[in-house]
Symmetry: D2
Subunit: 413 residues, 4 copies
């Protein structure tokens, strides 16, 4: 790090909060690290920008925003008389800053298309551990908090719970960039209502309406943005592209790809591989949206018809049609679509599978399990938000909602 510029910029502009201030050198050093800079090239909302053209923000900015909110939350909780040492304040800030460090290209959807059974939280942990070595143990507290091994449990809740700074930032940021005004939440007010009771993060009584509003806004963002049906169609097309490319790579086909992408296409790497071969993590850290989309652009002209067709359609935004409903689609519905595909596109039945997607998604606006949002009343009693609300039926919102969908280019024809 010898030739890193010395006059560090301490204030960053943010259209969402105005300014973000970096209060410790190590935060600055972590942000400058190539692994963190990589997050600039990973979009926050995957392909949602195909429906909401403004939603082109990335995980780099989200991580900074979440850290900014964390600094406010720490200050607020301290002002209410609870002790958070400087070391803990820095630890919890680092923990939230790095919470997505291991995120792969595009959104969660692609997670298992590139590496098999490894999720991004695992990789975040691998990366934090490696960074901790580079930073000579300065991330110890952050890692303990991240993994919920730190004694003060509420610090982990600020990083990961139903009311954590991650959600708080992404809801505001995603609604800001997408222009879906209804998703706006008042992060500032909720933070002002935070408190700690017996090592548990709680919300003060008068914040109950803001919590309800937060839950309703989150649900709205799920169905209107994150799981918007056009976005679903695009993301499943993207998954199928990767699936086909991986299959072709297995067949020994030649595929344009960056070295890092080539590695993951040609091998089925598991968590064990990550642990036994440190080089794999380095390769993973080279991967971002640019590898994927850069390859897809070239694959449009690949000789494999399945691959080239899928790539052309995705890039021209000729997305599969999609139908959502409460009940699953029948075998017959699916067969009928496969039939149309084989006929119209002149493909084999195996090939046609890539063009017909039958899946389901589910979402629960609020979870009443161990992680319930606790409301603290003036008399000191604590209640789960679901029972504390006198009118909004949060228990209704805590039921999971499942939707089944069918995608295909010829649906409804």
């Amino acid at each position: 790090m010898t030739d890193r510029p010395t006059n560090k910029k301490k204030i960053l502009n943010d259209p969402v909060y105005g300014f973000i201030t970096l209060r410790h050198d190590i935060l600055h050093d972590l942000i400058d690290h190539p692994w963190f800079q990589r997050l600039r090239r990973i979009s926050q909302l995957g392909l949602s920008h195909l429906v909401y053209p403004g939603a082109v923000h990335n995980r780099f900015h989200h991580a900074l925003g979440a850290m900014h909110l964390m600094q406010s939350a720490v200050e607020e909780i301290r002002q209410k008389g609870h002790v958070i040492t400087d070391k803990e304040a820095l630890g919890v800030s680092i923990a939230i800053l790095l919470h997505d460090i291991g995120h792969g290209p595009f959104s969660h959807a692609l997670e298992h298309s590139i590496v098999g059974n490894v999720n991004h939280e695992d990789i975040s942990t691998f990366m934090m551990n490696r960074l901790n070595e580079e930073f000579h143990g300065e991330l110890n507290t952050a890692i303990e908090i991240f993994n919920n091994h730190y004694p003060k449990k509420f610090l982990h809740e600020l990083v990961s719970s139903q009311l954590d700074m991650d959600r708080m930032d992404y809801l505001r940021r995603d609604s800001f960039y997408s222009g879906v005004a209804e998703g706006q939440i008042s992060s500032e007010r909720i933070i002002k209502m935070l408190n700690v009771a017996g090592d548990k993060l709680v919300v003060e009584e008068k914040g109950i309406y803001s919590v309800e509003k937060f839950i309703v806004a989150r649900r709205l963002m799920y169905w209107q943005v994150y799981l918007h049906k056009t976005v679903l169609s695009a993301e499943y097309m993207l998954m199928n592209i990767l699936k086909r490319a991986k299959w072709l790579a297995g067949q020994g086909a030649s595929l344009f790809a960056s070295p890092a992408l080539h590695l993951f296409l040609s091998n089925n790497l598991s968590k064990e591989d990550f642990l036994s071969n440190p080089d794999i993590l380095d390769q993973f850290a080279q991967l971002d949206d640019y590898d994927i989309l850069g390859a897809i652009k070239v694959w449009q002209h690949h000789e494999d018809k399945v691959l080239s067709l899928l790539c052309q359609k995705l890039l021209s935004r000729e997305l599969f049609k999609i139908e959502l409903r409460k009940d699953p689609f029948s075998e017959r519905d699916i067969a009928s679509e496969l039939d149309k595909v084989t006929k119209h596109l002149n493909l084999s039945n195996d090939e046609a599978q890539y063009f017909v997607i039958s899946e389901h998604i589910d979402n629960r606006a609020y979870s009443t399990a161990a992680s319930a949002i606790m409301i603290r009343f003036k008399d000191g009693t604590l209640k789960d938000a679901a029972s504390a609300s006198d009118h909004l039926n949060l228990s209704a919102l805590s039921q999971p909602v499942t939707k089944h969908f069918l995608c295909s280019p010829f649906l409804g024809n």
Copy 2:
């Protein structure tokens, strides 16, 4: 109207929507009318500004804003192929512009303290009829729509229903001015989702989340702003001031008051009086917040101790303490407060009544009665929003919530 300025300004700045355009001369003439100008002197949120200092906007601006939204709604519905004639467009714009023309000083709370059994909708009707004479019948359509006598029923719904332009504007405007960001609704999006089905105003299927958000935001504004406990305390103090002043006037006491306020303090005027004596309406049209507050300032020094104390406390923001709860307060609770008041303030029991308030309020976020918000699905079927929503339990929100409260200067002491 001979010396009214001729170069009419057609565009008004509005911090909420940017600009408001007046598209017809008669709208301009109505706005210039002293009766409409009076609305500049009637605050939109009564005494809410004692809690939310920014909330000092008035009914004048709200009426303009609602008219602005009406113009958008008319345009949207026309673009979807439904006929709204120019005459109807103007009529419905006038109807919404004048919907609050008969509003008395301060908020609804004061309504029955000044005139007995006459509510502000009645007075609005009286005023519209009088204006219609002045404007040679040009308000005929507006009045028919306002009173729901016009054949195209959806026009009335735009003026008065659970999704009317009145609510749409006041929610946005009140949340804007109060700074309660959670009350924000996307009026623009809801209007884009409006349609007409069989003469009924409906919302298209994909607007369902916005409708839910609208209902939740409205409920939040009710409990957090309109019925905020400190606001309740202040408004009931204001009512008691007027009650005492009226009682004193009945006793022949001398009271500083504008002539118009003097008239209403000294007489119990009923709807019949308004109908039989046109001058009473003219006097009413002189009354606004300035008469009330101007008098209260002087009454601080009145020799009647009850009146002067109440006025001093209101103006110095030494509001009665207040407790809200689900169950009614007992006779004993009330007697105990009365007791403290008589003792500490050295008042008779009759006088003490003005210092102890036991009341209840209720609110229903959504009503499933005849006026339900109807959602139109792509296949053309219509459903009440309460049953159309797949997760948010609108039926829970349609239960009325009642809160009882007790106010007194010495509560809890």
Copy 3:
């Protein structure tokens, strides 16, 4: 202050900044004082709301906002290594909180119509001194800073200079409420650029564009809002109303007025009177917009034709026509207007004077005098913003601009 409520609310909603926090009990006590509460009833922008209907905010909220910015500025300057003791921090906050405490009804325009040679800064000083007695000397530091008698001169500059927290708040607030988006300034960014060099408030080099923008925005607000020609017309009408009422009072005419207004209409009180008779300050502290407008409403029906006509026209927004130009109007122009007034309104020449206004206004966007805004370059040199800017010609903006205007109901007819 024994029965002041004990559970003090510490956080206030503000649509401009989100939240305003009160960090000391004395700030809370000062805000609760009836003299400060009076500012709720004094509009920030006088009659500008006749052109910008949203601009109905008051001096109460402005004072709170300026105090909020002061807290940020103090924090910023401290973080840059300059010492501001807690006592000084509180003093400078109180100074800005109370900087307008002596403001009379409506805007500056009315200042000399009510009391003769006393300006509102004088009265603010009188009031602060009196409050200091009530608060047992706790305002000593604040008063020294306010009067620029405190050793650390930059503290006074934060209260009163070309870049003080007063201007910073009023520009943002006025542009926010009026909806004149071009007036927006980034108070947050300017504050982040503040620093102290040799006891002088300075702006760091990279803040130069923000300073320029601030000056241009301020100029725009002057000509577009504060000195908007329709606003000028209305404010001069208001002055003439007061002038006429005072003249009538001198003639022994009976005039509806609150006791406080009556006192000032019937007497020509000077600074000396304020100093010799403390009761006059108490009476002044009773005066606000409500006294003035409440009276004007009644005066519409006064038997003096000049008074009643002026009042009717102002309240019905039938404002005098107005023409602005660079050169003064000739005696002949004025005589011609007087002539029309006497003829059309059937008035004597003396009476007609109230209907013809020939005046001038001037404004200087930036002043290069002693109070220049100093820019500090990285190498430590200081330069006046006017010479530091490499392109925007701030010296051009430092020329005073004078505009002459003529107002009359029949102008151009």
Copy 4:
């Protein structure tokens, strides 16, 4: 276009304007065209996001926004009584929609690094002509307007002039996404002030302050965002990377690159080549930010030290230090930097050239040439904004400002 989806989405969310409506099918078809979709992958502000992390918006969204403003401007001008036929309205909308269609990867900076003497306006014209063939001549009017061959000259001015819809959108959008609030302009207000006088686009007198504000905001955005010194450093590093890669390609070195990028690296293609070989345009249309950044990521590991070092530094945000000043740097200054580079990085003098950049930039906030912004006074006279403004010295702003800069990794060491 047979399998293009039939249920066209007509309304797009935009965080800047709320909603963008597509009013003609051909607009929709053009947006769906792969050449237009390509603009999703070209960032609006090149590498400015390295300083302003929020500024990640792309040319796709900008083009839609400019079209949205164009629709408002057309409506406004029509309402003022000037004829714009439906055909012209559509033509001018298409012209603005496609004005950047030929833009290459990243910002203007890269323009001549990829193709030699061809600027993006040329390529836009080539592409529009090709699209016109595909769309059977439906773009005729748009192309005439774009090239200023259409009789009604003001239509071209709406597309390209000092007050065109391009600038109007990019200023608002860039300031929105970067969070540089001072760049905000009121596009809505300026458009409301537009008019036509004798076939020339003019601004009405009362819009003069908004025009001034627009010019000042634009200048601020130039120096604070577009030409921010850190951004300059990054963009010149990017140019040098491309230059080196092209040189290496000329030497026959193997370079990871997409086929399209490979073509432009290995050949010096001129305007003539574009004209004589249509395939080159098709290849160009494959190029976007993903090709460039995707290659740079791989080139970090290239065996050529110059290339790999530059790529590593750019991606890790270890940007060259930079100094800006009014006077040019001397040969000696430059030699000294080259010397440090050869020594510290162990490079030859030729290689070191890629690490030392001596250049200049200039910008003029306002141009008084033929394209002056004309203000129309109430009496019908027209004046250049520079002389119409009574205080802001626009002539000062019309002087070009030149800044020289020197970039190198060891500057100041």
